[in-house]
Symmetry: C2
Subunit: 419 residues, 2 copies
């Protein structure tokens, strides 16, 4: 059997994750991995580790030839990219948990991995303790991945759960998430969907070989979801979840987006509550599979980092199989979505932009409509996230280009417009 | 990036799984894997494939130098072992789905893999489409695996679900499972727990490095579970599931067994219904993780075989890390279990064998007691599975050696025996 590598680690960041990792490594001597040096920003802060372990000079680590692995768990995306790029160029293997940095610099990081032939692992960057990247990369290495639907942000899921189960309003639930440490330092990143779309950018690569900028993927958060929307969901025995999803279309392309969605109470994702994450993979022949675990918090993140470190002992690296060994998939904008839109003022809703409208509810406490709209319209316009307007996907929202005409005709017939 | 291997497959078995695999491979040309020859037992049977594909002589495949991968999905454990052993010795990589053969020959197969340096993959042998072996081997490669609890037999889970949800009696539910193709050709293998303990033998190896004969692992099936037991479970808002479990003890050893168990309605495993399988992994720092998917049926099995084939393109092999690179764990018999025992005739229950008895229910339709008993007693005696007696574990059943004395004293005090 192959011998495994002795790992000498240089760690960047000693916040909750960094310190968690330090403790975990002390308790798992079998891993044969030790932290030689930790780079921190603020030398004045009290730390639960010997002072000799710390430095504030990144080059103390990046230029140390004994250190063969860099673990980077800092909060500053720009600094993180500098560290990771330099580490790879200096011949070190890297483990990173910085989803924002990874998502925004994916093309450069792919090139750097090719050029340096070093490993960059980042399981902790998506769904924390759930090994979703590794499974997409290794196990679903075929053309048969029909769809993937996931709750990837623990903080928004916690907020939605508290709104649904305990009737908290949005602000109370957010405050509670922050107190429990489930929200990023800047809550906007979680709440408005930025964190989720960053994770989705990474997973789209490992699922389908897609390399796309996060800001080119349609997304929104839960900032506009109101108690009235929750009431509508409850009346249909549904919940609202922030769902990241991708679906292979009949034309071979992939539709992908991160939006709030109504989820039936008996669906797998409805099982995912509080700060947990969940992933439902639908593939040819295997039917649906469901992975579930903690998606936020210091220890689940540290545990994912730990598994990456363990994999480095066996020289593991992502092959990016869908990108390099299969024909990578392209994203498609040629679809239509069946959406629920609630609003204060009907005058601000461009009704003419809908292909057709199936429901009107003008008398409810929260006014809303259900209709079918072009994906392109949502990508280019902003009315649907402004002026207290909420958009929530229906449970099975995607209508493909090839189906739209037939469905439109049927819908107009039903409405008595044509016959 | 590493180039990948062109795979030329010799297939043994063309039943539902073999034929499923043949179809799947035709639909996934990207895999660059083709079936050159299929060995079958009965040449007279009509097949949905060209006649030139088939042979009845195993040596046509085992001695064909073009064939570099053997896929074995036959129902005869002895023949399967012969095929797999010869294939490895002839320098071929092997994918097998024969859990019984694999479990019974694990030590020889470990030795053969070392000797031949060939890969033997068998993801399909446990939980079919759920990648549990790969994840235990690769992702939970550390000392922190506290426990693993799983529903590994789709057929018994289907039967129990139908008994609970639709009030079918055991025999009706078994017949339905057989009609739907969820039961092995010999239902005894499923129903009496043989299939589950075979799978558990394999998973104990990848989880903890344990190499043990299946008949040395304590197990039972669901053959004695009656409508009266189901009624008791329902009255406590619980279900009965056949649960395979392993738990690391304070002494560093592992307790493992496969027995029916009461499962609370809000536990992960209660979510697992019908022919599905589920695995709950509890590890230090990551908290609980839950994997869920189809555990039986031709296509889920074929899909797992397919993922193994895909992994062979990248020269993947199990490292057996827990066995070779960590200190493997030993099984412990020094534990006690809190159990429910229901019976027709109290005289046949050796009450003196219990450490203490916590509940008596002599008036119910189904008579039962709840008590604590030594694991060793269950391993050596058979009264608990005879004469219409049912044994079902309580939800948190394991009492460690170090705790038993204190708990016994407390229990006797409560009963007013000592004080």
């Amino acid at each position: 059997m192959e011998t495994h590598k002795q790992l000498t680690i240089g760690l960047f960041g000693f916040g909750v994750v960094g310190e968690g990792l330090y403790k975990v490594l002390q308790q798992t001597p079998s891993l044969k991995a030790s932290i030689k040096k930790v780079c921190i920003k603020n030398p004045g802060k009290r730390r639960n580790a010997p002072a000799s372990l710390f430095t504030t000079d990144k080059n103390d680590i990046l230029n140390d030839r004994d250190i063969n692995v860099i673990v980077e768990v800092i909060d500053d995306a720009n600094a993180a990219f500098e560290i990771v790029a330099t580490a790879l160029k200096n011949g070190k293997e890297v483990v990173s948990a910085s989803k924002k940095m990874l998502a925004e610099h994916l093309p450069e990081l792919l090139a750097l991995q090719k050029e340096t032939e070093r490993s960059l692992l980042y399981e902790a960057s998506a769904c924390a303790s759930i090994p979703v990247i590794r499974n997409l990369e290794e196990y679903y290495d075929n053309d048969l991945l029909h769809s993937i639907r996931a709750i990837v942000n623990g903080s928004t899921n916690f907020i939605l759960t508290k709104m649904f189960e305990e009737g908290l309003d949005f602000k109370e639930a957010l405050l509670l998430a922050q107190q429990l440490g489930f929200a990023e330092s800047n809550p906007k990143l979680d709440v408005e969907g930025f964190d989720a779309v960053n994770k989705w950018t990474l997973l789209l690569n490992h699922a389908y070989g897609i390399v796309e900028r996060p800001d080119n993927i349609l997304f929104n958060g839960i900032q506009n979801i109101q108690a009235g929307d929750a009431a509508v969901a409850r009346s249909k025995n549904q919940q609202i979840k922030l769902v990241a999803q991708a679906k292979k279309l009949q034309n071979g392309k992939v539709a992908a987006f991160v939006l709030p969605q109504f989820v039936n109470h008996d669906e797998h994702l409805a099982f995912v509550k509080n700060e947990y994450n969940g992933v439902v993979i639908e593939s040819g022949f295997a039917d649906k599979q469901f992975f579930y675990g903690k998606g936020a918090g210091s220890f689940p993140t540290a545990s994912a980092v730990l598994s990456d470190i363990a994999a480095l002992r066996y020289h593991y690296r992502y092959e990016y199989k869908k990108l390099y060994h299969h024909t990578p998939h392209a994203l498609s904008n040629d679809i239509f979505l069946r959406v629920y839109v609630s609003f204060d003022n009907l005058a601000l809703i461009p009704k003419e932009k809908f292909e057709w409208i199936e429901e009107w509810h003008a008398q409810e406490e929260r006014k809303y409509l259900v209709g079918v709209i072009a994906f392109e319209e949502l990508k280019t316009a902003t009315w649907w996230k402004e002026n207290n307007t909420s958009l929530v996907l229906t449970p099975d929202p995607v209508i493909e280009d090839v189906e739209i005409r037939k469905l439109k005709k049927k819908s107009l017939e039903l409405a008595g417009v044509v016959g």
